[in-house]
């Protein structure tokens, strides 16, 4: 956030001309301005570390810590635990994931009924995926039905899930999305976010929102000036307006 403010402030210092005639800033002038912006290396490193920690790149974070001396916001070992949970859900081992979350912090699922329901729902989906119909029915009735009684919206989701059993070819039914891998990923990221929150950590890294702000700022500036753009975020190459 602080980086962004410095950037904007420096732009404000130059009196941009009236909107009728947009000021043209050449690449040379623009680069000079950019070079004049003072960024602390530590701030950049913190930003990178925040990204690695939040996204769960534990080895990279470890290496980055050793190389740059940047301290991670939380104990790196908790990342390993969190990633193990996430991975278990992604691979369809939901029961295993639930046990791991409970070892990490039993409060998470005890105080988060929606997440708990979604994990149980994912378990049911996995049973159906593997054709364990008997087991799926028993599980739905014993574990999920009581949650449906507690909450109307859970009941609707449950009905939708059980509908998978009705179709001969589940891959071609109205609720087929539930069987999609993207549904696993959705559940996995929900657990990931809940664990991060329980560790008082933001559930999203800061870097993507900074990049969004960059695009927003460029759009704002477009109304007042013509200047070299960053269009490709992965390379951050400046592109002249004429290009």
């Amino acid at each position: 956030m602080s980086l962004f403010r410095i950037f904007i402030n420096q732009l404000d210092e130059d009196d941009l001309e009236m909107a009728s005639s947009k000021k043209v800033i050449t690449r040379e002038e623009w680069e000079k301005k950019l070079n004049a912006v003072k960024l602390r290396k530590e701030d950049m490193n913190t930003l990178v570390m925040n990204f690695l920690v939040t996204e769960g790149f534990v080895e990279a974070a470890d290496k980055f810590q050793r190389e740059s001396g940047t301290k991670p916001e939380i104990d790196l070992s908790t990342i390993t635990d969190r990633m193990a949970v996430k991975k278990a859900v992604q691979n369809g081992h939901v029961e295993d994931a639930i046990e791991k979350v409970n070892d990490l912090n039993p409060e998470i699922l005890d105080t988060n009924p929606e997440l708990f329901f979604h994990l149980q729902q994912q378990r049911l989906i996995e049973l159906i995926r593997h054709g364990k119909i008997e087991e799926a029915l028993e599980f739905a009735q014993e574990e999920l039905a009581p949650r449906g009684e507690e909450n109307q919206s859970f009941l609707q989701e449950l009905e939708k899930t059980v509908a998978l059993l009705v179709f001969e070819d589940a891959s071609n039914c109205p609720v087929k999305d539930l069987l999609d891998i993207s549904h696993r990923l959705k559940t996995a990221s929900e657990v990931n976010a809940a664990i991060l929150t329980s560790q008082s950590h933001e559930k999203d890294p800061k870097l993507p929102s900074l990049l969004k702000m960059l695009i927003w700022a460029q759009n704002q500036l477009d109304e007042k000036a013509v200047y070299p753009h960053i269009n490709d975020l992965s390379t951050a190459q400046l592109q002249d307006p004429s290009e």
């Binding site: 699922l109 029915l137 009735q141 014993e142 008082s200």
Partner: protein
């Protein structure tokens, strides 16, 4: 569709067998088996109320509690503490079972373990217990308890220091306890946690609210810390990204505001507090439930904040939530109705905009809610909405649809509901202009009389207030209906009630009863003037001004009747033989309360009204008793009303040849 309650027996019994199997392994002497069983139970019950219930029935809690005490295997300690914590999480029967099993002191002992994981598990479970009302009372007055509390707050472990804050939030109730904690420096410790982890911060905000509540000294101490820095921190947290944190910081500010409003001079702070709480109302979880009660407490009796809330579209927002159709938590319903009630308490604009949203059905449904707090809140909402004379006289509240459930609530088992519904009826019955009314048809009068004999003085008082309004400008038929049920004896005992507030309402009711035609006055002469005697007896006892006012108006109304009636009043004013101190009329004329002086002068006016034959004699009597000379001294009374009435008396006096 295999959901809800259709239970195929095979599934039920197989799960039952599995539970029994795990349960039996809990008692195993093999630590490996025991550990596995503990972990299994824990994983089954977390997040699952039904399983908590069935394991509780099997007797799992004592079994796990004994695992906690038997060994020092840290894995077993961690698993059993976590399982007990889960039983105590959001499940009151579980909390009770954990405490009954004697697990509480054992969990406390875990905090001194050298294994960080054991400490974590113990602190977490204790925190769950302290979130329940059933947690054991923690006595801060004992020095060693206070020391222990500080050792928790000072801990580096966030679960342990969070536990310290939770204990304060749960156990601090009295001003003495608040003072003790402040003197011991607890505020200075708590504010450090404001910068801590999420759970520390939440526990800290809750305990700050508890320590500061209704204690101006504690508030000024808190605000004084580092020149208001922490008040700003709490204010800043109302913009936090976690809804729970936003809510708890708002509730903390509401407490500070209600205790010491002077710290909230800034209109911007007030309005952002109102809008934040309004936003939080939409949170579907616990935070939304608590936000509703927080809002009602914030705007209670504060017209400026009610106005702010109204301008922020509070009424529409709340009604929209109530109309969503999904089942709302009783706490949320209570808070929402109380907030609406507060909004309608003073501002007519609010009442009109509320009633324009077609909310009567919502209110009527809430009157039938199974939770007594919700019924009470709905009644209060009715009461305040009915303050709108415009809507009241449009007959919006007197339809059968509304009246029947209200009258039924007069039989409610909860006395809080009874008092609240009496309040609502008191306002609504003012509109019973038509002689035939639903309220009376449904037996409302009978039930009000019943309640006027209740054990609860509040209920008696409210019932009489409702009757008083019901008899206001009532026709003779209605008065007869009422009187035939109470009778002289009943009325006399109401007037002699041990509670002054009840006496006052009884006299005010009598005042309305004897107002109007000559026939009405006759009520007080039933059974040898029993009622009139009781009134005079109360007046002679040097009553409180408010009561004396009502009593004097009773005499005024009676004195407006026939010659016989006027003489009867004289008899009560100056009985023979008279003890000197008994001239209460003279005392009332010297009262500081202008309304009492006015009521007394009115009695004199009616007694000597020139059209009646005995007026001259009564005038002589009043002069001899010192009443007329006293009135002459009062020609320049500070109260305009009194002054004008006295002029009337004196001009009548002149016509009797008195200068």
């Amino acid at each position: 569709m295999p959901t809800t309650t259709s239970s195929s027996s095979s599934a039920a019994s197989s799960s039952g067998n599995r539970q029994a199997d795990v349960f039996s392994r809990l008692a195993s002497s093999d630590p490996e088996v025991k550990l596995k069983a503990l972990r299994e139970v824990k994983n089954q019950i977390i997040g699952n109320r039904t399983k908590k219930q069935s394991f509780l029935k099997l007797g799992a809690v004592p079994a796990i509690a004994s695992a906690l005490s038997e060994c020092d295997n840290s894995s077993i300690l961690v698993q059993s503490a976590a399982a007990l914590g889960s039983f105590a999480c959001g499940f009151e029967a579980g909390v009770q079972a954990v405490i009954d099993a004697g697990a509480f002191p054992r969990l406390l002992r875990l905090l001194t373990s050298s294994d960080e994981k054991v400490v974590d598990a113990g602190a977490r479970s204790l925190r769950m217990i302290f979130q329940s009302n059933q947690a054991p009372k923690y006595d801060f007055l004992q020095e060693k308890n206070m020391e222990f509390l500080f050792s928790l707050l000072n801990s580096e472990n966030e679960n342990v220091s969070g536990l310290g804050a939770s204990i304060i939030a749960h156990a601090c109730g009295t001003t003495v306890e608040q003072q003790l904690l402040c003197d011991a420096g607890v505020l200075e410790k708590l504010v450090i946690l404001l910068d801590g982890s999420l759970s520390q911060r939440e526990a800290c905000l809750e305990s700050l609210a508890t320590v500061l509540k209704s204690n101006p000294e504690a508030v000024s101490r808190f605000v004084g810390l580092e020149a208001g820095r922490y008040l700003s921190s709490v204010t800043e947290l109302t913009k936090d990204r976690y809804p729970r944190t936003r809510l708890l910081s708002c509730l903390c500010l509401v407490v500070i505001y209600n205790t010491s409003p002077s710290y909230f001079l800034n209109m911007g702070t007030k309005s952002s507090l109102v809008t934040t709480l309004l936003e939080l109302l939409n949170d579907p979880g616990q935070s939304g439930n608590e936000a509703a009660l927080g809002l009602s407490s914030l705007i209670a009796e504060k017209e400026d904040l009610q106005k702010l809330a109204y301008e922020a579209n509070a009424i529409k927002n709340i009604v929209d939530i109530l109309k969503t159709g999904s089942e709302l938590h009783p706490k949320r319903l209570q808070g929402l109705f109380l907030s609406l009630a507060e909004l309608c308490s003073k501002l007519e604009d609010c009442r009109c905009s509320f009633l324009s949203l077609e909310v009567l059905d919502l209110l009527v449904n809430a009157l039938r809610h199974k939770n007594a707090d919700v019924r009470t809140a709905a009644c209060i909402c009715f009461k305040n909405a009915a303050r709108s004379v415009k809507n009241l006289s449009a007959g919006r509240f007197t339809t059968d649809h509304v009246m029947l459930p209200l009258v039924q609530l007069l039989h409610d088992p909860s006395s809080a509901v009874q008092v609240a519904v009496l309040g609502a009826l008191s306002n609504i019955v003012l509109d019973f202009s038509s002689p035939k009314s639903t309220f009376i048809e449904y037996g409302g009068i009978k039930q009000l009389i019943e309640l006027s004999k209740s054990m609860d003085p509040n209920a008696r008082c409210s019932a009489l207030r409702a009757l008083r309004n019901l008899m206001f400008l009532a026709d003779n038929k209605r008065k007869e209906l009422f009187y035939s049920d109470v009778k002289a004896q009943g009325f006399a005992s109401l007037i002699s009630d041990p509670e002054p507030t009840v006496q006052e309402q009884a006299l005010a009711l009598l005042r309305n009863l004897v107002d109007g035609c000559i026939n009405s006055i006759e009520f007080v002469f039933d059974e040898d003037g029993l009622i009139l005697d009781s009134v005079a007896r109360q007046l002679r006892k040097a009553p409180q001004a408010q009561m004396a006012i009502q009593g004097m108006y009773v005499l005024t109304n009676v004195a407006s009747g026939t010659e016989l009636h006027k003489e009867a009043v004289m008899q009560q004013l100056f009985p023979q033989p008279q003890a000197e101190s008994n001239n209460f009329m003279l005392k009332f004329l010297q009262s500081h309360e202008s309304q009492l002086r006015s009521a007394t002068v009115w009695t004199v006016i009616n007694l000597i009204s020139p059209s009646s034959p005995g007026a001259l004699d009564r005038h002589v009597k009043l002069r001899n008793e010192g009443i007329i000379p006293q009135l002459k001294n009062m020609v320049n009374d500070a109260c305009l009303d009194v002054k004008i009435r006295i002029r009337t008396v004196l001009s009548q006096s002149m016509s009797f040849g008195d200068n």
